[in-house]
Every structure is written in C-alpha cells, then in structure tokens.
Symmetry: C2
Subunit: 310 residues, 2 copies
C-alpha cells in the first residue's frame, strides 16, 4: 500500500459522516480511497443529504506523525496485518490505531466483558478465567473499563492482552486505570478506531464494543445488568456470528440478570475456562464463521433463541 493511498484511507476514514459502511461502499464504487476522496465533493454537492467534511491532508499527516512519536502505528483494513476477525466483518473499521505490540492481534482471541460495578466474586472469576484462557493460548480482549474489564486485562497481562478503547489510543480512560494503561502498552496492545486525542464519548462505546467482539472468536459476559454495555457487546457478537458465553448468577443480584438472560436465550452457560475451550477448540485456526452459518454440531443449538417466556 502506497503512503499516499494510506493517507487517503485515513482522510476518508476521518471524514465526517463516513462510517464503516459508507467507507466500504465508497471503496467498492471507486476502487481506492484516493479516487473516492476526489469524487466525494461531487457526491456531496449532488445533494445526497450527507455533508462530507474532509479533513485536509496535513491533518492526516499530523495524526500519523503524532502516533509514530508515541511508538504507535496505524493499519488499514486492506493491509495483510489487519486482524482477521475484523476483516471478516461486513463493514470493518477502515483504520485502526495501535500502541504496544500489534503482533498480538494476529493471535486467536477471546473477549471477556462485564459490569463496571462487578461483585468481588465476579472479578475473581474473571481473573481466573483470563489466566486460564491466556494459559491455553488465547489472547484476552476487553474494553479497559472498571470492574470485569480491568480484572480480565490484569490477569492476562503476562501473556499479552488487547484493550480496545472508546477514545483515541493516547487517552487514558477511566483515569484511575493509568497504571493498567501503561502496563498494557508495555505488554499488550491498545487499539482504537478513533482519532488520536479524541476523548471517549457515549456514542463511541457501541463502536468500541463492535471491535471487541469482532476481534474475538467468542465473548464471555461475566456480570451484566439489563441494558448494559456488555449486552451490546453480546449483541454485536451475535450479529457477527461469534460464540457467546455467559456466567450465571443469583436471580436476586441485578448484576446477574443480563448474563442469565443470555443463557436463557442460548448462550453457553460458563462455569470454567474448559466450558469455553470445549466450544472454541474446533473453531481455532479456521476461518471466522458467517452469522448465517448453520450450527457446527447437530446436538447444540448455537443461535440465541427467543426467551421461553414469550
């Protein structure tokens, strides 16, 4: 990939109102980002409703330079090093920024997500799970949030862990995770779809969640209240044809409600790393499944079912 086309990818990805779907459509229509950028003002003036505001080229150069100064790099969805799981998505994030050890993104991954206000027991369980899955050769992906995410990252640090952040890769959020952020930068990799320096905003989190599940073969939900971000990640995983694992909990604990519902709807009830490995082992090394793919074995119902109470 030529430097000029890489910059064009970055400029196109950073254009207002160009999300992953529009990006994919533009590349499909015009053959390259360079060509798409040339056509974009004409498309906008035709009054298609969308107002495309292109960042100029120096802005793109400035971001690339700043990222390089931090020791980071950028990778486009068309490049061979782009993570396989994301490449298999219908509309991959066009550009990822990374700090740390991008080679980890070539490995097989498992996402562990859950409540920010998780119980001590659930954090302990996430810790145990992350250690055992890491030991089994899987890289643990999470969102560097408080609670379950932090526990999973910390436990997986020794074997490398992937943190997908909602703002720019240079933004430490939440602030109390400064130490964890530094450790992951050192021993793992920090990934983001957002521009450098961008503060995380509420609307970024669903995009972050989509990357977490997209990178991984499966998503483990450890504790999740109803309407929580973890359930959004599980929904992304379902849309992406990923395996969904959920850790059960007492019906009297509201933090267990989301995970219990996932189990009810067909997620694999998870009590140990073994429960996860027995489902994932047959998939590892192979291609990522399409969401529409039939169950791998007749004995198991892999798709989430509607709740029995309907």
């Amino acid at each position: 990939m030529q430097d000029s086309e890489r910059r064009a990818w970055l400029r196109l990805a950073r254009t207002e109102n160009v999300g992953p779907v529009t990006f994919r459509n533009l590349i499909a229509r015009f053959g390259s980002a360079t060509a798409a950028l040339e056509e974009l003002p004409r498309l906008a003036s035709r009054g298609g409703g969308k107002n495309f505001v292109l960042p100029d080229e120096t802005e793109a150069l400035r971001e690339l330079d700043a990222l390089a100064m931090l020791g980071g790099r950028m990778i486009a969805a068309c490049e061979p090093e782009y993570p396989r799981g994301l490449k298999a998505l219908e509309a991959p994030p066009p550009i990822l920024s990374m700090l740390g050890h991008p080679h980890l993104l070539q490995k097989e991954m498992i996402a562990i997500v859950g409540a920010r206000n998780a119980s001590a027991l659930a954090r302990k369980f996430a810790d145990m799970l992350a250690r055992e899955l890491g030991f089994a050769g899987l890289v643990v992906v999470s969102g560097m949030a408080r609670g379950i995410d932090s526990s999973a990252h910390e436990a997986a640090l020794a074997v490398g862990t992937v943190a997908v952040v909602a703002g720019g890769v240079d933004i430490i959020y939440p602030p109390e995770n400064e130490k964890l952020y530094a450790a992951i930068k050192n021993q793992g990799v920090i990934v983001s779809e957002m521009r450098l320096g961008e503060a995380p905003q509420a609307r970024h989190f669903p995009r972050r969640n989509r990357i977490i599940s997209g990178l991984a073969r499966g998503v483990v939900v450890v504790e999740a209240a109803e309407k929580s971000g973890s359930l959004i990640t599980a929904q992304c995983a379902l849309d992406q044809g990923r395996e969904i694992f959920a850790v059960p909990g007492s019906p009297l604990d509201p933090r267990a409600r989301g995970a219990n519902r996932l189990i009810r709807e067909g997620a694999t009830l998870t009590e140990s790393a073994e429960d996860i490995l027995s489902v994932l082992s047959p998939l590892l090394g192979g291609g990522f499944r399409e969401p529409e793919a039939p169950p791998l074995s007749a004995g198991r119902d892999r798709a989430l079912r509607p709740p029995a109470r309907q």
Copy 2:
C-alpha cells in the same frame, strides 16, 4: 373399594420385597390384592428367588387404626382420590398415608427442592418463589428437609403445602422441624409411602423424591451441589416427563453447581415465579404428559440435553 380389599392392598404393599413395580405386576396378573395375597406364598415357594414375607392381617389393621387415631388416612392407588400425578406414573406407590388436609393433593402442584445447607440468598429466593406460586394457585410440594425445603414449606403454609417425608407420616425429621411439622399437619398435608412409625433411612429418600416430583407438574431446583438429593429429584422428574426448573448461581459457589448443570442440560433457567408459570400455564388442568411426549412447542427444547462439553 371394600375394606377387606383395602387391607389386602396394605398388606401387599407392606410385604417385604414387594415394591411398586412388583405390586403393579401382581395386581395386573391376579386382578386384586386379595387374590395376589393368596397366590403369593405359592409364588415364593416356587423359588423365584424372592422371599415374600407377608405381614399378617392384624398388623395391617393395627397400622390403619393407629393412623386413624392420629386423624390420618390411607389411600390406595386404585382409589379416585389418589393424586393424579402419581397415578400417571408407570408404577405408582400402591399406598399413601396422609396427615392433614388430603384435598390439597387434588390441586395442581409444583415442587421446590434444594440444598439443606442453602445460602441465605437462596432461602430468600425459595421463600419468594413459594409465596408467588402459592398465590398463583399452585400447591408447593417439598421434602421437609432443612434449608430450601423448609423455606418453601413455610412460605407456602398460608395457601397449603404438601410435605412428602421419607419415614412414616408420624415421624418428625429432622427433629428441629417440629414446629413446621405441626404447622403443615394443621394447614397442609404430610404424605408418606412408608409404614407408620418407620424411621427415615438413607434408602428411603430416593423413593420420597420420586413422590415429590411425581405429585408435581414441575420441579424447581433452587440450590443443589453435585450428587445431591435435589438432583435425584430432578432426575425423577425427567423420567416422569415433568418440567424442570433450575435457579442459576455463581460458578464459584459449589451449591450452584447442580442447578447450573441442569440449566446447561436443558432445564428452564428460573429467575422468577413468572418463568415457571409461563411454562406450566399451558399444562395446567390437562393430563400429565408421558416422558416420551414430544416438545409442546417447536421453539423450545424441553428434554434435557447432554452437556455441551461432551
């Protein structure tokens, strides 16, 4: 049913080596208990291997009298008041002794069972469930054990509850349940397959569990360790074609392991009385299903599945 035939049923049921299956076969072969009793010595002398020791008639009369003195009664499987759920079994207990209000056995029932060393949270949940299911018109059946059983009985007392005991109906076990025993005798019904005065022994409990699940439309397992009696009751329920409900819990709590496994194998994950009622409502008032019956609705897999990890 004539008094003499009733006494013959009792004598035959109290005969050593005559269990429910042999009892059913003898009645099928000879047409009545009176006739079977006459033939039994001849059968035994033929050296079929089994040694049938018949109690004499005065012994049977003494048990009937003693039970009547306690205000109780006996009911044979061929009588119209015999509980429908048990009647539907392949080999119903031939004789039931009862203290309290036998009319409760004509109602639709739900069994709630679980660990003797249950957590406070689980006992609270059993209490809530029993209240709500009782309020919805179901009679709660359990085994009067410590822990979950006691919580369920206590909460259901006001609307009537059925305690199935492993020894004779006149034996209070465990001894600390003296108050609960008296309350159930007063407001509910105490049922047993065993002879009056018989102390509960380990081998009686599986037979007790079979009656608990047989009486009910479904069995709710609230907390159950692996290899616990509650799992035996769940297995009976499965063999009898009953619905199985299990309450999830943390994988780090060994008391949750049995119920979690049941969910993994296809039991309905249960977080509320509503979860139970939505499954049972279509069944209530109808006949008891055969274990071989196909799923009631295509969308739900009602049979327990083998664990995914196999």
